[in-house]
């Protein structure tokens, strides 16, 4: 299982998302310097089909493709798009230690004045704390450390080659001390073996104790080779739980599982995490970046609607209701005029005329506007 690096020079690096991915990472762009990861966690969604393209999932952790011109491409491509949050870099060992492409990309993000969001497992990120602080001073930085749980037994079974849990928590602490907004993504929460109150509470309190201010919880997704490998890891750990997972993901032998667990399960999990967060003075969502200037109000309003979609998910509301808020949030987020001005000039009718908003959501928008900027 020797490690190979394959250097190449792609033509493009920046992924431009149609919409911000609220209420999760609030990002509009992403750019990654490496494909493949030495950690090779069994449950990693990146092993699943639609992320890996034509690459062989079996070499995910032994063949690391290195985009040598990552920083140069990013510099060129960021110059052509409006400023918004970018998810950038990958501090995986040993690739980043050898190539330092993520650091070079941070320098570009700093020069262009883009707000930055990082989701990471590697403590190597701390080496670039100086740049993170500079970006924070100039715009905004949010960091999420990915820690599924703090159970060493589960780590060894599902992610034996990932960076040590203690090192990750130390990194959270160093970021928090440096004034960087940091939280932990409890993903994936492993059904039946890592989703109980004790596992969740242990990670949430450790996050708080190390200076983190929020957690983001997410269940395990299952797809293709990743699903098979994850189930095999469970079988090696505790074969008595295999049938529970098969049932949860409606996974018949010879067929493929559901991509995610049932809504009732996901909702229960989210509500438990929310309750624990409230108990321990933490947030279960990450506050978003609000740009300076008159359009910041639209971002705040969209944030409220995006957060509402999450509340409705937890309440197991019908999909059409969730989508109504999501689509309205997209409109609000991208609207070119400040909506508080639109409202003050045209009233609720002007808000209702916005695409995907309508009368009822216009009323809610008006309430949000009043709350954000109470009148004289």
């Amino acid at each position: 299982m020797s490690l190979r690096f394959q250097e190449y020079r792609p033509r493009r690096i920046l992924n431009v998302h149609k919409h911000t991915d609220g209420p999760w990472f609030w990002s509009r762009y992403s750019a990654h310097p490496y494909i493949g990861c030495r950690s090779g966690c069994e449950f990693c969604y990146l092993r699943g089909g639609h992320y890996l393209g034509r690459r062989d999932p079996a070499t995910f952790d032994t063949l690391i493709q290195v985009k040598l011109n990552a920083a140069e491409l990013l510099r060129r491509e960021l110059a052509r798009v409006p400023t918004d949050v970018i998810v950038c870099g990958d501090w995986q060992q040993p690739a980043e230690d050898r190539y330092r492409l993520s650091r070079a990309m941070l320098e570009v993000v700093l020069d262009h004045g883009f707000p930055l969001f990082v989701v990471e497992r590697s403590p190597l990120l701390i080496r670039d704390l100086d740049l993170l602080q500079e970006i924070q001073r100039k715009t905004w930085v949010g960091v999420v450390y990915s820690i599924s749980n703090l159970d060493q037994r589960l780590k060894l079974a599902f992610e034996p080659r990932s960076p040590g849990l203690r090192r990750r928590l130390q990194a959270v602490e160093q970021l928090a001390r440096a004034g960087i907004r940091v939280g932990v993504s409890l993903m994936p929460i492993l059904p039946a073996i890592g989703d109980d109150r004790q596992h969740l509470e242990e990670t949430i309190t450790a996050t708080r104790d190390h200076g983190g201010s929020f957690v983001l919880a997410g269940g395990l997704t299952m797809q293709g080779v990743q699903a098979e490998r994850t189930l095999q890891a469970l079988e090696r750990l505790d074969s008595s739980q295999v049938s529970r997972w098969r049932k949860l993901y409606r996974w018949q032998p010879g067929a493929w599982p559901d991509y995610g667990p049932p809504r009732a399960y996901a909702s229960r999990l989210g509500l438990t995490v929310r309750e624990l967060c409230e108990q321990h003075g933490m947030l279960d969502r990450m506050p978003r970046y609000i740009p300076p200037g008159p359009l910041g109000v639209n971002k705040r309003l969209a944030e409220q609607f995006f957060l509402r979609t999450y509340d409705l998910e937890l309440a197991q509301a019908p999909n059409w209701r969730i989508w109504a808020y999501r689509k309205a949030a997209w409109t609000v987020d991208d609207w070119p005029e400040p909506l508080d001005q639109v409202y003050s000039q045209g009233g609720a009718e002007a808000l209702a005329a916005l695409p995907e908003v309508g009368d009822r959501l216009a009323g809610e928008l008006a309430d949000c506007i009043a709350q954000l900027a109470p009148g004289p």
Binding site: S39, Q93, P94, D97, L124, P160, R161, R166
Partner: protein, 62 residues
């Protein structure tokens, strides 16, 4: 007599608690072995204990 950790170390930390002479410590980018105190586990085990636990085989003889 000493071992070393190559730059293929992925910072998993599995080796650290296994070392009988506490010769392994965290470096910034990889774990490090103190060559002054490393005895290659002679007197403690038949072969260096943490070579066996390293998931990426990055611990080698100097």
């Amino acid at each position: 007599m000493a071992m070393t950790i190559t730059d293929e170390c992925i910072l998993c930390g599995a080796c650290e608690p296994e070392c009988p002479t506490e010769s392994i410590s965290e470096g910034d980018t990889i774990y490090l072995i103190n060559v002054e105190t490393c005895v290659e586990c002679v007197g403690h085990a038949d072969s260096p204990t943490w070579v066996a636990v390293c998931p990426v085989d990055c611990i080698v003889k100097l």
